[in-house]
Subunit: 319 residues, 2 copies
């Protein structure tokens, strides 16, 4: 796992929300803790590659958080501090740990977020567009030199609310990761394989469908790969599982310096790296859910990560 | 896959319900079609080993059904024909294909079912106790010479209604297969690993937790194995998926002539055969759900079965 930082050939640019979350789950509560898609993504990805994040926070966002991200080989020079308060999400999980119930959303400074990339960020070889307005996702792509790989996430709000703009984004994306319900809504299909096939027609050559506690499914032109979630002893808070999945997934591919052309030049290796990246994502998500906010990832070490990767491999191996 | 029938060393005795089902699913309706746990189990298992079934039907049960089972190397000499009508289950699946809603249950002749084994059946090396009253499950075990492997199924009705009797059964069983909700109810745990560990303390050294469209998890003393469900193009009717899973699982182990002692003498091989048996179960279940009743299994051929086994292996392989 790499820790080099100077404009390296495997940097990932990640754009998305930075937030405070207040969460209630059957395991307890967390008030006003660090959240937001780009935070989960970048901390997860930082185990594999250097990260540059672009986002916006309010004046209430503790400088200590940004300092801490900086120590994780996460470049925070693209984080804008805007007058006002940081985005605040309040949600709960009751019974069904696979689906959050939003109790309130205060967009605050995030409402007028307009991603502006520092010039250094424009040559990022890997780009992850977290779940934000598809118009903003396109604006990010407009600012970067052609990357090796672009991945994005989305959600029901944009799928239903801005379908045409989302489709424009998807035309420019290699990899889409969404959850099962989002895949069904986006595709109009209620079957996993059919949904993935339909979404692939919209642009992304790779579709990942996240299935919460049941893992994730990867679809390429060639095949489907079904990865289970790692079995954890207790799910404390599922928030951020999907974003940290995406972070480790993208980090794994960036560390291996994968270019989309590999799909043509060495489809077998492409397929296999994608599969290993999915497993890396499952492992990272399994740590995320073991505590509130980024707490588990904050104290995660490489040794634990490698150990659990081996354990997950054992859980799926047949000889 | 074996088709020998003369008191062979890999015969499976299966005891459970034989029924007519009337089912409504989003894909359509089926009225008064062949159903019942032992029918699904035995047809699935018959692809691997000779089967002997014990059950009861009413005078309305078409002789053609029994003749057809007989042609599948299924010995039906233990099927009692009792005065009255055959068990009739009426159910529907609305939205959630993982859970049937029972609309009506007419037990009919099944209400007074008392399994009596023909003498030839008492030396069956493999025994499967489908989901019936745990008192009857024990009565079956009382009648057989010590088998190589005993597996059983159960359901919420018995877990909640006859917990002490069920625990007596479990003490005599090597393998329990239940679904997720049943595992949680039986164990008092809401976590998959913990539930399996608790159930293993009750007797079965192997616990299989079925997860519907998400596959199945296998727990042994050594490890956990997570198998996905095969991705089918359309789920027409999930009825019987669990029983045909169990049939192929047990059939696979019987064909390999597995004895429980293998867990001690060659734990690696034991583990691996169990894992392959689980995958065989997932594959068989995936065929079952593609049509109503046993219709898909009726027209299933070995070539299709082998093909799909290979496809499922591809869906979980990482090199």
């Amino acid at each position: 796992m790499s820790t080099s930082t100077m404009n390296p050939s495997n940097s990932i640019l990640a754009v998305g929300s930075m937030a405070f979350d207040s969460v209630r789950t059957p395991a307890g509560n967390a008030e006003q803790v660090l959240g937001g898609s780009v935070n989960y993504f970048s901390v997860a990805a930082s185990f594999y590659a250097p990260i540059r994040i672009v986002g916006v926070v309010g004046e209430d966002f503790p400088k200590g958080h940004l300092d801490w991200l900086g120590k994780k080989s996460i470049d925070v020079s693209g984080v804008q501090v805007a007058p006002g308060k940081t985005f605040h999400w309040v949600g709960s999980y009751d019974g069904n740990m696979n689906e959050a119930k939003t109790l309130s959303t205060a967009l605050n400074v995030f409402e007028h977020f307009d991603p502006k990339l520092p010039s250094l960020h424009t040559d990022s070889p890997y780009v992850f567009l977290a779940n934000i307005d598809p118009i903003l996702q396109q604006r990010v792509l407009d600012q970067v030199k052609p990357p090796r790989l672009v991945a994005c996430d989305s959600m029901n709000f944009w799928i239903a609310g801005k379908p045409d703009e989302l489709k424009k984004t998807l035309k420019r994306v290699d990899i889409l990761s969404v959850n099962e319900g989002e895949a069904f809504l986006l595709s109009g299909e209620k079957n996993l394989s059919k949904a993935a096939a339909r979404i692939r027609e919209l642009g992304p050559s790779v579709v990942i469908i996240k299935r919460g506690e049941y893992g994730a499914a990867l679809f390429t032109r060639e095949s489907a790969f079904l990865a289970p979630a790692f079995l954890v002893d207790q799910v404390v808070d599922p928030t951020g599982a999907g974003d940290s999945f995406a972070g480790a997934f993208m980090g794994y591919l960036a560390e291996a310096q994968v270019h989309r052309d590999l799909a043509k030049t060495n489809p077998q290796q492409w397929e296999n790296l994608l599969r290993r990246a999915v497993l890396a994502g499952c492992v990272m998500a399994s740590f995320t859910v073991e505590d509130f906010s980024l707490h588990r990832l904050m104290r995660l070490n490489t040794h634990e990560l490698v150990d659990r990767q081996k354990s997950l491999m054992k859980m799926i191996s047949v000889s």
